[in-house]
Symmetry: C2
Subunit: 743 residues, 2 copies
């Protein structure tokens, strides 16, 4: 799994790194280790690691997956790390029966098979490949009329409603894109569908974009995107052990009580298999933005296409193998800097996840080399190669749940990577780390352009936006704005469940392709079409590794809360705009209903249902949130002033201060979690309940407004305000200690 979000970023004309935390000499010494570290990562090694790790299919529970874990363990040992495998037992359904047949108006049986590509030996390993399927689809066998539902997200069903089309009792066919895949069967089931097909339209990642594999990087006609469809916005990790580590002796739910399995059977198919089904639909022509790149008239149905869909899985328990390596801190061993990337793949996974994993391994080798040359990191460093990410972030989630108490006490930050490509740095995560990671990015060189990866990203963003206001910010602000984290990779449990400040890093934008989660994500594909010379793999190791070294060495942990308060301000303004925009929209629609707009503009030759009159929403009371945010802004300002004064004072930093800082992100969680999904504790960042990957910031309030649950929204505003007050209080606690220590 992996998500690359477009980032929204900004710049400064500062060329010096702002580091209020260390004295001049310590700064120089830390800088020396960081610089030395950056010279170590080696593209030839990245290539060889990838060759080895992607040589055979290595999904959760596979022979080669275990061999890879052991090989990674051996490398870490060789590099001087204290390393072990931590294992969990998890539910993992694997494909047993898969049928997709068109029964009417003509017969057609979907091949459901990704053919061998003779140029690519990896594609020949059919014995070890997992067939294309959607893990955690329930078993089922249904025959029903087909309906095309575009991406199958809530807005698409709204549009279907306007067109007078119901999916009740039907099998829906949705194209990949616009949401995490697990949203599609969830929303389909909510609307009464009995089955779900998900296909890769060539508009998304096929010939529409370029030559297809093996001639080019894009998805060939029979390529299929596998992937999990469990209800991850409810909770990730093993469906049988929500909230606790899936150890041997853990208490498990019976399968029929697991909450995150789908409600209806689901299968992914290729565009070669989808075209005959879509061509057999009649009825209304799909709206223009629903149409893909197949040479057909996209129609919605339902029918006359009637489809038989059969899915059965082997509902096995399997063992997962996380590789966990430690380098003990010399002076602040109780403060942990954690770094992770998963090692399991859907098939050979050269891009996903090996391209990120090999960068992490070169970091580990580099840190090991520094240690051999005498470096003793102040803080404890933990490197993790996760298993079972593809099924639902299993390795990281179970580990976080199993070690929750220790992590709450010790974890200072978690840095994640996943697939890596060629192009522009993307940075996402906790905004208290925004300045820190911007500063690191200013030190890493872009291998194509010989300017910093930060500068290249800034210039790209300047070119990409059409807003003069945004360009101004990009040029004036000291830091590029980092994205908030949704979900889609192993940071989820760290940030969302425990409130550990987290970052996700990667490069992309010049590396398109269509082999995601298919048998064509191979060493040949990656080395012919993506970061072929591994220079961005090296740049990723330099970026994440520098961050680890800098954070592990910092006297005062480099959090900067004014960046957080600026992000919070932005989210609050968004919420106010969302509320007033929704209000205006409802007032306008009601007016149009009165004016007769919808009757007047309905084409008598096409069914069209007028929207329903809605009550005009009340104004929400944002005052508690405004007040709380003003408090956070003050606290952030005070911390900033006081920490600068402290550094000037030359006084020795009492360890308690870092322990306080480490807890600040924790204060953004609430023990009850989000409404209806208590596993998600963080109150600022969460994947959307109906987006899956995409973040919803201030999610409890935002999703209440989106649901038009005005009373809930008002209540959640109050709750969120209390969380922000707690955040201000946590920052103040650190500030007060600084003040005392300075006097």
């Amino acid at each position: 799994m992996s998500v690359r979000c477009p980032l929204m970023f900004l710049l400064s004309f500062m060329t010096l790194t702002y580091n209020p935390d260390v004295g001049a000499q310590e700064q120089r010494s830390a800088n020396r280790w960081e610089r030395e570290f950056r010279s170590i990562p080696d593209t030839a090694r990245l290539r060889e690691y990838m060759r080895r790790l992607s040589a055979r299919p290595h999904h959760l529970g596979s022979t080669y997956g275990k061999e890879n874990a052991e090989w990674i363990l051996a490398r870490f040992k060789e590099w001087g790390w204290n390393v072990q495998i931590e294992s969990f037992q998890v539910l993992f359904p694997s494909p047993r029966e898969r049928v997709v047949e068109l029964m009417q108006p003509v017969k057609f049986a979907a091949a459901l098979n990704e053919p061998v590509v003779t140029e690519d030996p990896s594609s020949l390993q059919q014995q070890e490949q997992l067939a294309a399927y959607n893990a955690f689809s329930i078993d089922g066998d249904v025959t029903a009329p087909l309906v095309y539902v575009n991406y199958g997200i809530p807005a698409d069903y709204e549009q279907l409603g306007r067109m007078g089309i119901s999916v009740r009792g039907c099998i829906v066919i949705a194209r990949y894109g616009a949401s995490w895949r697990g949203i599609k069967p969830k929303v389909a089931a909510e609307h009464g569908a009995v089955g779900c097909l998900i296909y890769s339209d060539p508009r998304g990642d096929g010939y529409f974009h370029g030559a297809t594999y093996p001639d080019g990087p894009w998805r060939p006609p029979n390529g299929v995107q596998r992937g999990s469809v469990m209800d991850m916005p409810l909770h990730p990790g093993d469906p049988l052990t929500p909230g606790v580590g899936a150890t041997e002796q853990a208490k498990r739910l019976p399968l029929n009580e697991a909450k995150t399995l789908t409600a209806i059977p689901v299968l992914p198919i290729s565009y070669a298999d989808a075209q005959p089904l879509l061509s057999a639909l009649s009825g209304r022509v799909a709206p223009e933005h629903w149409r893909g790149a197949l040479p057909i008239t996209y129609r919605i149905g339902p029918g006359p296409a009637k489809v038989h869909l059969g899915v059965r899985s082997n509902w096995n328990m399997v063992r997962l193998y996380n590789v966990i390596a430690r380098m003990e801190g010399s002076t602040h061993a109780d403060q942990w800097v954690i770094r992770g990337n998963h090692h399991d793949a859907w098939v050979n996974g050269a891009e996903d996840p090996v391209s990120g994993l090999v960068a992490m391994m070169e970091e580990a080798r580099g840190l090991g080399a520094l240690a051999k040359r005498g470096w003793k990191p102040r803080r404890t460093i933990i490197y993790c190669a996760w298993d079972g990410e593809e099924q639902g972030l299993f390795g990281s989630t179970e580990w976080v749940e199993a070690h929750a108490d220790e992590l709450r006490g010790h974890a200072a930050l978690y840095i994640n990577t996943d697939s890596n490509g060629r192009g522009y740095l993307s940075m996402a995560g906790s905004h208290s780390l925004e300045k820190f990671i911007n500063d690191v990015a200013k030190e890493v060189e872009d291998p194509e352009k010989r300017i910093s990866v930060w500068k290249r990203r800034q210039l790209f963003d300047i070119e990409s936006t059409s807003s003069a206001e945004e360009r101004n910010e990009l040029r004036q602000r000291a830091d590029l704005r980092i994205d908030a984290l949704g979900s889609g990779s192993d940071y989820t449990a760290f940030i969302d469940h425990l409130g550990i400040a987290s970052l996700n890093l990667g490069y992309g934008g010049e590396d398109g392709g269509g082999i995601y989660h298919s048998i064509y994500d191979t060493f040949r594909w990656y080395t012919q079409f993506s970061d072929t010379s591994f220079v961005y793999g090296r740049a990723l190791a330099q970026m994440a590794g520098s961050a680890v070294v800098r954070f592990a060495e910092a006297d005062l942990m480099p959090f900067e809360f004014s960046n957080s308060s600026e992000a919070l301000r932005k989210y609050l303004e968004e919420l106010k705009k969302l509320a007033s925009g929704t209000r205006d929209q409802i007032i306008e629609r009601n007016l149009q209903l009165e004016e007769g707009v919808f009757e007047a503009t309905a084409d008598p030759r096409e069914a069209m249902v007028s929207p329903i009159r809605e009550e005009v929403p009340p104004f929400l009371n944002f005052a508690p949130l405004e007040n709380a945010l003003a408090t956070v802004e003050q606290s952030a300002h005070r911390y900033r002033e006081e920490s600068a004064r402290f550094v000037e004072s030359g006084k020795r930093l009492p360890p308690v201060i870092n322990r306080k800082l480490l807890q600040t992100e924790r204060s953004l969680t609430h023990p009850d979690g989000l409404p209806e999904r208590s596993w998600f504790k963080h109150q600022i960042y969460a994947p959307g309940f109906y987006t899956g990957y995409g973040v919803k910031t201030m999610p409890a309030v935002r999703e209440a407004i989106e649901r038009k649950a005005w009373k809930d929204a008002d209540q959640q505003i109050v709750r969120l305000a209390s969380v922000l007050e707690a955040y201000a209080f946590a920052i103040d606690a650190a500030t007060n200690e600084l003040t005392s220590a300075r006097r």
Copy 2:
């Protein structure tokens, strides 16, 4: 030919028609004739006229074209009109040789043939059909590498430049759309191309939108859009007699001095013929918004596809037959109300132009019937069925040029129609007629919704815009804003060459299809897929006929200059925004060049050329235009007040006032015409030099700014200001007469 422009419109809560021009009794009498008129048009007759007129191919110079003219003449006679055929002799190249072959990397010969559809007898008349070609392409035979240029408009060549791709010495292939077709070979030749193919991508009007003919209304794989490619933005009409009527004895240019022929050979092809050519291109993948709906990766080339293009025409002189019918005015015979629609087609032309022509004929029958019942229109009414419109507005242009002096003295307005469909009323034309035509639209009933066609359009516009400001205007303003006229039908010579206030009317928006200018534009197509019951044909006759009756009857001609001044204000604001936007854009791009944005964001695997640094434009002096417009606003206001006062006074209106009013639009012309195209005299409206159909308002200034010719822009502002002063003076002349007459 025919253009349907999206309109920008607005509303009022007024329910009474504002008619300051007639006393209560006269108003009632005029209303009676209008109401009586509207009850006459008959859908069964519209159908029968169409059956007859579209029964056989009837292009300029064809046997059936002449028979149609004679049949129309006979009908007008029968209905009591004084009617004659006015003939001109014009140049008309018809297809003699057409070759399109792919020579490399594989051989393929384009079929260049539209196959018979057995369901549709009209498609069988192959003997009489003109083969698919682009009239006024020069003869030529070239073999060269192929380049895909998207729509082939200037912006596309800018983008090609950025990608480092030149079309010099190549044959370009452009898709239909985004400009009038004649722009494509013109711009291609300006960039050094040696040949031009234009094809109909299924994204434009093929299967992307729905079922193809004969199963549905959209373009079948072998359907081709014929059409003229002469340089009409230079001047329409016979290329050999610019500015004068192409009478027998007219002085003619030798063919090699004609200015409006293309510079390179051009042919239109179907998507069935285009696909093998496009598939044979390699090189860079086309930008996303350049890609159509064929199941291929759209690439730009040049080559390796090499194409042989051969075009030869029979350069014949042919005779065209305009049918001109008059009904003499009873009291103001010297004031002419002119109404027209063309009768020639590319092939059978059921939609283009017969759907509009039959409406005009039902009007003529209706007016004839009124006359038989005793109606004597005050003003002279002239109905015109034009020939040779498809070649370049030949019939109307030559007639206007031949009768220029009389028309300048007598023509009060010209009302045009062309193809008609199902859906929403579109109104375009001179803004002094905006209120008049809005008032008429409030009296005509929409046949699908039983509300006025005005109301339906207003509600549609309210639904279509996302701007609250626009919705507010739509709800508050008394009149929907009408579009300005570009070109593409027979109003061009009236408004642009002579400055006769003009209108263009039609219905559309629920009537998509892909038979435009092909052999499939037939009676069967129209009666199966478009306005199948001819109710919108009747609504068009009611709309245009009511306008004729009302204008012919009005005591004081219903011009309203405050609508004009509001339109002029809008255009001036647009120009100011265009100038400042261009300035900002150049400043920003220069800054980005200094910052190194373009080098930093160029993908090293793809050629990319940085844009060139441009001088920062000076601020333009808009003051002369501001002052002149302020004068127009005052004059418009005074006229409005004074005309209301005059009506109240109950005084008798001296005929001189209408003669003054009739001249007001003339004052918006300038004898020198537009820069580099002196045929176009109107200084407010013109088709764009690089759009062909699309209007450029205040064209001399606007196109100077677009060309970044700042000095020209400043000069043209001064010239335009003097035209507006003259307009104000012309309005004042009418106002002063009203004042004298009232005292």
